[in-house]
C-alpha cells in the first residue's frame, strides 16, 4: 500500500474537526461522490468495512475486528486486503529494460525472468519519487505496481521519459492494468489456502518470484510478496472475477483468513520495518538515507545511469548525512513528526511513522537521525506533547519477517 493514515472513521473526529455540521455534510458528500470504488466496494460495506477516503479511493480502514485483533490475526492465520487502489502497470517492448533502468535504482537487466524486487523511482537530485515492486516477467515485459497516492505523478514521470526515449527510437510501450484488481493475501495460511485454488505448485514459487497462472478459473498475475513481513502473495485478478476470488479465499480458510483494512496494514508494515512512501520516504529522501542501499544493484553502482545517480553513488561512498532507523520507546506512542533529541536535548531528527505494536505490546517507531547517532542501542529522547520520552535506536524489522525463501 503505502499511502497512509489512521482516520479510524470517527464521527467524533469529523465533528470536532469542523464545527459547522451543515458545512461538514456538504463537504462530505462532495468528497464521497468523487471517490473511486474498487470492484469489492459493496463487499467491504457488506462485511462491516469502515470506508475512508484514501488517495482518491473509498477504502476500508478496518472491518468489525479491531486494528489490534486484525494485526494479530494476520500473523497467526492470515489477512486478505483489497489493494486495488494501487496501480499495476506493464512496460513492454524490446527496450523496456534499458528504459526502466534510467528511472530506477534496480539492476533490472540482472533479474532472472519471473523474479522481482523492491525498487525506487528517483529524481534528478537522487530523491525518491515513489517506491515500487517491479518484476521482470520476461526480457520484453516488466510488471510493476506503484502507490495509489503517487499514481498520477508516477505515470506523468514515466510518460514524459517514455516519449523522449521513443523519440530516439527506443521500443517501449505501457499498459495500465485498470481492468484488473489487486488482492494481497498474507500470513501463514496464505499459501495453503491459495494452493486449494490453483493447480500450480506454490511451494516452488519463492519470495520475490512471479508467475501467470489460473487461480479459481481466472488468469492471474501472482507475486510472492507483500507489505506485512509475512509470507504471502499479491494477486492481480481480472476485476470481474475479483469478488469470486475474494470469497473463495475466505471460504477455503474456514474463516481464519479475515478481511483486513488499511489500519492493520499500516501496523503490520511498521512492525516489519517497511517504509510507507509519503511518511518514511519522500521526494527529498534518497534511497541510501532510507536504508535501501541494498536495492541499488551492484552493476548500477558501477555504471550509474539512473536519475540522481551522482548524488546516490556519492552517498554510498561517503555515507548519507541522515539515516532511517527504528526505535522502541516508553510513554505515549511516537507519531509522525515527533522530534528526536539526543540525551543532552539537542535535535537530531524526526519520527516519520510510529505507533503501538499490537504484536510486541510496546511502542515502535521509525524516523531519521543524523549519521553517527544511528547505531542500535543509542539512547534518544522522543518529544511528545512537549515532554521528552525515553527511546532507543533499534534494528528493524521489529517483528521477524517470514518470507518464503529456499532453505
Amino acid at each position: 500500500m503505502r499511502g497512509s493514515l489512521w482516520q479510524l472513521g470517527q464521527s467524533i473526529t469529523r465533528r470536532l474537526a469542523s464545527g459547522d455540521k451543515k458545512a461538514v455534510a456538504h463537504r462530505y458528500f462532495a468528497t464521497e461522490a468523487e471517490l473511486k470504488k474498487t470492484a469489492l466496494y459493496d463487499f467491504h460495506v457488506a462485511n462491516g468495512g469502515k470506508m475512508v477516503p484514501f488517495a482518491g479511493w473509498s477504502m476500508p480502514i478496518q472491518y468489525k475486528d479491531s486494528i489490534m485483533d486484525s494485526t494479530l490475526n494476520c500473523r497467526e492465520n492470515g489477512s486478505l486486503f483489497d489493494v486495488s487502489h494501487m496501480c499495476g502497470l506493464s512496460l513492454k517492448g524490446k527496450d523496456a529494460i534499458p528504459f526502466l533502468e534510467k528511472l530506477v535504482i534496480a539492476d533490472v537487466a540482472g533479474l532472472a525472468p519471473g523474479t522481482g524486487t523492491l525498487t525506487v523511482f528517483t529524481n534528478e537530485k537522487g530523491g525518491a519519487i515513489d517506491d515500487s515492486v517491479i518484476t521482470k516477467v520476461k526480457d520484453d515485459h516488466i510488471y510493476l505496481v506503484v502507490n495509489a497516492g503517487c499514481r498520477d505523478k508516477d505515470l506523468a514521470h514515466i510518460e514524459a521519459h517514455m516519449k523522449a526515449f521513443k523519440a530516439k527510437g527506443g521500443d517501449v510501450s505501457w499498459h495500465i492494468h485498470d481492468e484488473r484488481s489487486l488482492l494481497a493475501l498474507q500470513g501463514p495460511l496464505a499459501a495453503p489456502v491459495l494452493q486449494h485454488l490453483t493447480k500450480e505448485d506454490l511451494s516452488k514459487l519463492y519470495f520475490g518470484e512471479f508467475c501467470m497462472l489460473d487461480i479459481h478459473g481466472s488468469h492471474c498475475f501472482l507475486t510472492r510478496t507483500g507489505y506485512t513481513g509475512e509470507d504471502g502473495f499479491e494477486i492481480s485478478v481480472p476485476s470481474e472475477k475479483a469478488l469470486d476470488l475474494a470469497k473463495a479465499i475466505l471460504e477455503k480458510s474456514e474463516g481464519k483468513i479475515r478481511l483486513t483494512g488499511l489500519g492493520a496494514r499500516d501496523s503490520l508494515r511498521l512492525e516489519a520495518g517497511l517504509c510507507l512512501y509519503g511518511n518514511d520516504m519522500e521526494q527529498h529522501t534518497t534511497p541510501i538515507e532510507a536504508g535501501l542501499t541494498w536495492a541499488v544493484g551492484k552493476r548500477r553502482r558501477a555504471e550509474g545511469g539512473f536519475l540522481g545517480a551522482e548524488v546516490i553513488l556519492k552517498q554510498i561512498q561517503e555515507g548519507p548525512p541522515i539515516r532511517r532507523v527504528g526505535f522502541f520507546s516508553t510513554g505515549p506512542p511516537p507519531r509522525s513528526h515527533s522530534e528526536i533529541q539526543d540525551e543532552q536535548g539537542n535535535n537530531i531528527g524526526e519520527v516519520t511513522s510510529g505507533g503501538f505494536s499490537p504484536c510486541l505490546k510496546k511502542n515502535i517507531a521509525m524516523g531519521y537521525v543524523k549519521s553517527g547517532l544511528h547505531k542500535a542501542g543509542t539512547n534518544v529522547k522522543i518529544v511528545i506533547r512537549g515532554k521528552p520520552n525515553e527511546g532507543v535506536v533499534t534494528k528493524m524489522p521489529f517483528v521477524p519477517t517470514k518470507y518464503y525463501k529456499p532453505s
Partner: protein, 159 residues
Amino acid sequence: MALRMWASSTANALKISCVSRPLISRCFSTVLDGLKYASSHEWVKHEGSVATVGITDHAQDHLGEVVFVDLPEPGGSVAQGSSFGAVESVKATSDVNSPISGEIVEVNTKLTEAPGLVNSSPYEEGWMIKIKPKNPSELDSLFGAKEYTKFCEEEDAAH
C-alpha cells in the same frame, strides 16, 4: 475529546479528509443516567465537592483499544472545553477536554499501567481526573443522558 488524527504528510498532501461512514449506526453504547456529558464525548459526575471526569462508552468504542493515557499532575487547573490530557489508541491520538473548570485534585494513576480500563470500564475504573469545580453552574451547559444519547445517534447518522 477532540480526536487529533495523526494524518501523515501523504494524507495531507493528498488532502485526505477525516471522513467515513459507518453504515450501521452504532447505538449500543452505554449512557448512564445521572451524569453530564460534553459534546466532545467526556462525562462528568458531580458528587459533593468533587467532580469525576472520563470519556464516554461511545468515545472509547470509536477509538478502539486505548494503549496510553496522558494525564496531568494533580494540583493544576483546567478550563471548561480545554484539553487536559490525551488518549492514544493503536492509530489515533485524541485530546481529552474538561467538561468543567476547576482544580485537579486527583488523577487516576491506575491508567498508567492499565490504559485498557478506559475501554473495559469507561464510567468506573477508567475515570481520568477529579476536579474541584470552580463554577458548578457550568454543569448546566452540558447534556443530560437522554440528550447525549440523541446527540450520538444524530452524529452517527449524519456520517
